[in-house]
């Protein structure tokens, strides 16, 4: 039973990640492979605040979101000058640098040894210790994140994002400040990724850089693309599918050493197949077409 709850908690955390990346990549059309880095920034901020300052869980999550939101502006900055595949490369660079800092700044992050002993969250005096309680917490945050993104993309703000995605120069010609929109969408998306990171840190109670690699970024991107770019329901479907499919491998009796590789081959293969036959994903509306 705990195992099932564990998978559901992971699905909730990854839903926050895929919905927030969808806001950046699916709605604003800014394909990013730095999402795991922002996820990691959130996890580290929350963990460090809890370990060194005994910060309250909610304060930690808020600080993580603000901190990662600010750092997201650094990721977004290159998009003001470069576009499409060059921008992907810039986000790649940010991801590698962020991993380098997490892995090498041993004084702050513990390096490859990670940060153990992150306390379980306490909310208004209640300690969240069982899987069931944590699931309620994580699912609550996932629902809030999805509703927030839904509200954003259905507002005039969201319509401008789609206009930027479809034709940036056109949006600019209508007097929209494209730069400002790009910075805002990254700050919001990165902040949400950090919320997922803080939840993850408090749930696993241990973090190390290996959870925030470029492969993890591609994994989150695969959820967005398989589920459907520009569809919030799609991102949730993507998270459910890509988290639960590899778990199914356990039940067919695959040894865990093989399963890790097969899991990655599965989502790599899904990316290729979806690009070839359904680039807009299961429920999506945007197919990264030519501008």
């Amino acid at each position: 039973m705990d195992y099932l709850l564990h998978v559901l908690i992971l699905i909730a955390i990854y839903s926050i990640l895929s919905v927030s990346l969808n806001l950046i990549s699916g709605y604003a059309g800014l394909l990013s492979v730095a999402h795991a880095a922002l996820f990691g920034v959130g996890a580290y901020i929350a963990a460090l605040l809890a370990l060194h300052f005994h910060a309250n869980f909610l304060v930690g999550i808020l600080c993580a979101a603000i901190g990662a939101g600010l750092i997201s502006l650094v990721v977004a900055a290159p998009s003001l000058r470069i576009h499409d595949d060059y921008f992907v490369l810039a986000t790649f660079a940010f991801q590698v640098i962020a991993f380098g800092v997490m892995n090498n700044w041993i004084g702050l992050t513990g390096g490859p040894m990670g940060l153990p002993g992150i306390p379980q969250p306490t909310i208004f005096g209640v300690v969240i210790s069982s899987h069931a309680q944590f699931l309620v917490l994580a699912a609550g945050f996932a629902v809030i994140a999805a509703l927030l993104v839904r509200r954003l993309v259905r507002s005039p703000f969201g319509r401008v994002l789609k206009a930027i995605r479809e034709d940036e120069v056109f949006a600019q010609s209508l007097g929209k400040n494209v730069m400002l929109y790009k910075l805002q969408v990254f700050a919001i998306g990165g902040g949400l990724a950090a919320v997922a990171g803080a939840l993850y840190a408090h749930y696993i109670t241990f973090i190390d850089p290996s959870s925030f690699t470029v492969t993890e970024s591609i994994f989150i991107l695969a959820m967005v693309i398989v589920g459907g770019s520009g569809s919030i329901a799609g991102s949730v479907v993507g998270a459910v599918l890509l988290v639960s499919l590899p778990e199914a491998l356990r039940f067919v009796g695959m040894p865990s050493s093989v399963a890790a590789n097969v899991r990655q081959m599965l989502y790599g293969g899904l990316l290729v197949v979806f690009m070839m036959f359904r680039p807009q994903g299961i429920l999506g509306e945007f197919a990264f077409h030519r501008k």
């Binding site: 470069i82 499409d84 660079a93 989502y267 290729v272």
Partner: protein, 291 residues
């Protein structure tokens, strides 16, 4: 200091070879072929399989490995990229498919060969020659020589022959090239064959020097891409200069601040170039629509 420069130039010449292969493919197709990194890894592991596991002499195993990697490169083009190009897929779609393909190939290699370090070095460690106060081994000298020879050969092939002219025509406008009677599919196929062979040669040389792991390709690819962008994308002398500059910059950085920051240095250089001079040292100024 002399040793640092020598090490930088040797690492740089391997980066330059990867950059050259990458630039030949990017220069013709205008999309980021991330799976190039997996072809590179495959080159090293096929050599290992033939020379160490099947005990075939190196003189036969190395050419065979280069040819097999070349075939693998041709397969990626015909099975995945060509059908996508037929659907007029955007460069971003090809990039995402390529990311997926990279993940699949890398995990296939680690599934077959395992994650531990494999070696094709047969002889014991040699002391090396003394060149201007720096110790250089035979393998490293061969690397420098082979890289220089391949650069000259590729430069002549692309700059002086009809085939090279066809590749440049395809690069500048696929449709127009087809209208003038160039077999565009064959030109692109040739670019993939040549690029993949160059990657395999680089991988074999590097694995003689520092052995191999399944993730070696990601690092090599990233360094190759960084070198390509520093030098100016699509330019052959650019790839050479970019690779050597990157190698030297990295080794100077390592010497001053420590080896764990190697990737971080490379990507900081990349970000600086993307922001300040995205067309690289030798590239021509791009119009906004092209970047």
């Amino acid at each position: 200091m002399g040793q640092v420069l020598a090490n930088g130039l040797i690492a740089g010449s391997a980066y330059a070879l990867v950059a050259l292969g990458f630039a030949v493919i990017y220069g013709t197709t205008r999309f980021f072929h991330v799976a190039h990194g997996a072809i590179y890894t495959a080159g090293a592991y096929i050599t290992y399989a033939l020379a160490v596991l099947c005990r075939i002499p190196l003189g036969v195993a190395i050419p065979a490995a280069v040819i097999l990697s070349c075939v693998l490169g041709l397969l990626t083009e015909t099975v995945i990229y060509r059908p996508l190009r037929r659907k007029y897929a955007a460069a971003l779609v090809l990039l995402i498919a390529s990311l997926g393909l990279y993940v699949v190939l890398q995990n296939a290699i680690s599934l077959v060969f395992g994650d531990d370090i494999k070696s094709i070095r047969s002889a014991s460690v040699q002391e090396g020659f003394n060149v201007l106060g720096a110790r250089i081994t035979l393998v490293q000298l061969v690397t420098l020589g082979v890289a220089a020879a391949l650069f000259v050969a590729t430069g002549l092939l692309l700059g002086r022959t009809r085939l090279g002219k066809a590749l440049r025509a395809v690069a500048s406008d696929l449709e127009l090239a087809r209208v003038t009677g160039i077999d565009t599919d064959r030109s692109i196929l040739f670019a993939f064959g040549l690029g993949s062979a160059l990657a395999a040669v680089a991988a074999i040389l590097v694995s003689f020097d520092v052995d191999m792991t399944p993730t070696m390709g990601m690092n090599a690819l990233l360094m190759g891409v960084v070198a390509t962008i520093i030098g100016g994308i699509g330019s052959i002398p650019g790839a050479a200069v970019g690779g050597l500059l990157l190698g030297v910059a990295q080794h100077l950085g390592v010497w001053k601040i420590g080896s764990q920051w190697q990737d971080t240095i490379a990507f900081a250089v990349l970000l600086a170039f993307l922001l300040v001079r995205p067309q690289g040292i030798f590239g021509r100024k791009l119009r906004k629509a092209e970047i």
